[in-house]
């Protein structure tokens, strides 16, 4: 094994361990955004696709690497945007005020007809 490969293996193993450590602390509520965010990060394969375009020396290689760039760019841009869209909704809001006083009496329900198709507020 070459020196380069050994260095790369070291980096790989450490990165895997860091990944376990960082990720195992994420609460379940954030699992979907996390999956999406991690999904965006592996779009980093874009730089690999760019690199193989740069070394393309024949039409087939050029086509393969072009498709790779399209795929990876879609992964990166779409991945980050959709994750951001999800997380945008996690704005912290203050907890609801304490419940107001309970209903005073058990009034007989007025037999109201079904509120058909009430539009949303």
């Amino acid at each position: 094994m070459s020196e380069i490969l050994l260095t790369s293996l070291t980096v790989f193993v450490l990165a895997v361990l860091v990944g376990f450590e960082v990720i195992s602390k994420v609460p379940a509520t954030l699992h979907t955004p996390l999956m999406s965010g991690a999904n965006a990060i592996h779009g980093v394969v874009l730089i690999g696709a760019m690199a193989i375009v740069a070394t393309a020396d024949n039409p087939l290689s050029l086509v393969l690497s072009f498709v790779a760039v399209v795929f990876a760019a879609m992964n990166v841009v779409g991945g980050y945007l959709v994750t951001d869209r999800m997380l945008q909704m996690f704005r912290q809001r203050r907890a609801p005020a304490a419940p107001s006083e309970p209903p005073a009496s058990l009034a007989v329900p007025s037999g109201e007809p079904e509120g058909a198709g009430r539009g949303q507020g």
């Binding site: 376990f20 509520t29 996390l34 009430r118």
Partner: protein, 482 residues
């Protein structure tokens, strides 16, 4: 600048990008910092891409900058534009399949990078053994991810039937494809070991590996039922990360290795957590234990016994309005009906009457872990009201009304009591422990796992049939009238 210095800058850029990815993921630990975490990670991505662009433009990698620049730019604009449009236009309910689609193209890109580099090396002679191994791994994992994720996405979108598809001889095809992959892989490594140089057989072997891995991805995911799709997507997400790392080894790019390894680990952890939430082993899921013909039949039998009690919105409104505590159990039916805003409106209305309202979130409610949290967050439901399964289950016996909106399998008592049920052992929300249960549901059709739910024939349970959105709207009106 001299090439040496540029190469150093490139490497340092990748280190910076890798660090930003780690920090970004770390910030995604908490809802408050999650969004900025994703942005930090996006900055890391930008750094990685910029550094690579500079390296290519200054010719450390290329001689014909014009063509290269054009191809990259065109690819980036087309792919990026497509990704941008999809991410902007997708409904939040359809988001899991979009993530799966992005995962597919990511895996495809990793496979292409590995294939292309191998072809280049073979044209000038012979790829060394270690490179060949990484190429093989990258191609196999990337191809399986590509086709597997497309099928998973199609299943969630309804383009491919979500029921487990058992093709006659399907398992045989899977095994055959696996053997072809192993055989082709072994041939390539053996050839590299001998160092005899690439022949046309080299390309035949490589092409066979790609085709067989693609077939393997399809036949692996097809027999898996829709209920298990979250776990499968997570697993494939992990695969893509690993494939990217392998591609990084092939082209000696540490940016790829770091990011790929991180995602591989992330997906691995997530997959395990998800499988645990469903009390299923990964092997069980991947081998398609769920919903093969006999289990579907076994589930269907229980449907005949017991009658269901149908209730109207007015009855339910009274029950809710005078309850002390209500737990809302949202499920996928709520998501497809886009009824998260109505649920929130009803909850606020009840709270204004002094009812204690909580949401019970099953880990796999919706289509992915945490999917329901996203949908409810979209509707501005305050975080503290969302309760995870372990925290809410002890509350059910003290609860007056459990309102189940479009959830099914995650409330099925058969998971506790019926060892024959395919979901036996899956942790569920103990909805049946509540004093009263109201289920809003379109019809008596079974849920995603394809089995009937005995909760519906429980004497405590009232069924309010209808589309979740309309049913909730009429409930809101009825509660206001109480």
């Amino acid at each position: 600048m001299d090439p040496q210095a540029l190469a150093t800058i490139e490497r340092l850029g990748y280190v910076l990008a890798g660090a930003l990815f780690v920090v970004g993921l770390h910030r995604m630990n908490h809802p408050a910092t999650a969004r900025s975490g994703n942005q930090v990670s996006a900055v890391g991505m930008t750094v990685a891409v910029l550094v690579t662009t500079v390296a290519i433009a200054t010719g450390t990698l290329a001689s014909s900058v014009g063509v290269v620049g054009l191809v990259i730019l065109a690819g980036a604009v087309i792919g990026g534009g497509l990704g941008w449009w999809l991410a902007r236009s997708v409904q939040m309910t359809a988001m899991p399949q979009l993530v799966s689609l992005f995962n597919a193209v990511g895996g495809g890109a990793a496979a292409l990078v590995a294939v292309d580099d191998f072809v280049k090396l073979s044209r000038v002679g012979q790829a060394p053994v270690d490179t060949t191994v990484f190429v093989g791994l990258g191609v196999v994992i990337g191809s399986i991810t590509f086709s597997g994720s497309l099928i998973a996405s199609g299943k969630l979108q309804g383009l491919v039937p979500s029921r487990p598809l058992v093709i006659p001889g399907g398992r045989f095809v899977t095994i055959l494809a696996g053997l072809v992959v192993l055989g082709g892989f072994a041939y390539l490594v053996w050839q590299a070991w001998l160092g005899v140089g690439a022949t046309s057989w080299t390309y035949v072997a490589l092409a066979s590996i790609v085709v067989a891995a693609l077939v393997f991805g399809v036949t692996m995911v097809l027999p898996i039922g829709g209920a298990d799709m979250p776990v499968v997507i997570s697993l494939l997400n992990s695969f893509t990360g690993t494939a990217a790392a392998m591609a990084g080894f092939v082209i000696d790019n540490q940016g790829l290795i770091i990011a790929g390894a991180l995602v591989g680990a992330a997906g691995g952890i997530l997959t395990r957590l998800m499988a645990q939430a469903m009390n299923r082993s990964l092997a069980n899921i991947v081998l398609g234990g769920f919903g093969t013909g006999d289990t579907v039949g076994a589930g269907a039998e229980t449907g005949a016994e017991g009658t269901v009690r149908q209730v109207g919105p007015d009855d339910v409104a009274v029950m809710l309005a005078y309850a002390r505590s209500v737990i809302i159990v949202p499920g996928y039916g709520l998501a497809v009906a886009q009824a998260q805003h109505q649920v929130h409106e009803l909850a606020e209305l009840l709270e204004s009457r002094g009812v204690d309202v909580k949401y019970a979130i099953h880990p796999v409610a919706g289509r992915m872990p945490g999917h329901m949290n996203v949908l409810l967050a979209e509707a501005n439901v305050p975080y503290p009201q969302l309760y995870e399964m372990e925290r809410i289950n002890p509350e059910f016996p003290r609860t007056d009304v459990a309102l189940v909106v479009g959830a099914n399998d995650v409330t099925n008592p058969a998971a506790r009591s019926n060892p024959k049920s395919p979901i036996y052992g899956m942790p569920i929300l103990d909805v049946d422990a509540a004093q009263n249960v109201v289920v809003i549901k379109r019809s008596m059709r079974p849920g995603y796992a394809g089995i009937d739910n005995e909760l519906y024939s429980n004497p405590k349970t009232g069924m309010l049939f209808g589309d979740a959105k309309e049913a909730l709207a009429s409930l809101i009106a009825a509660v206001k009238a109480v």
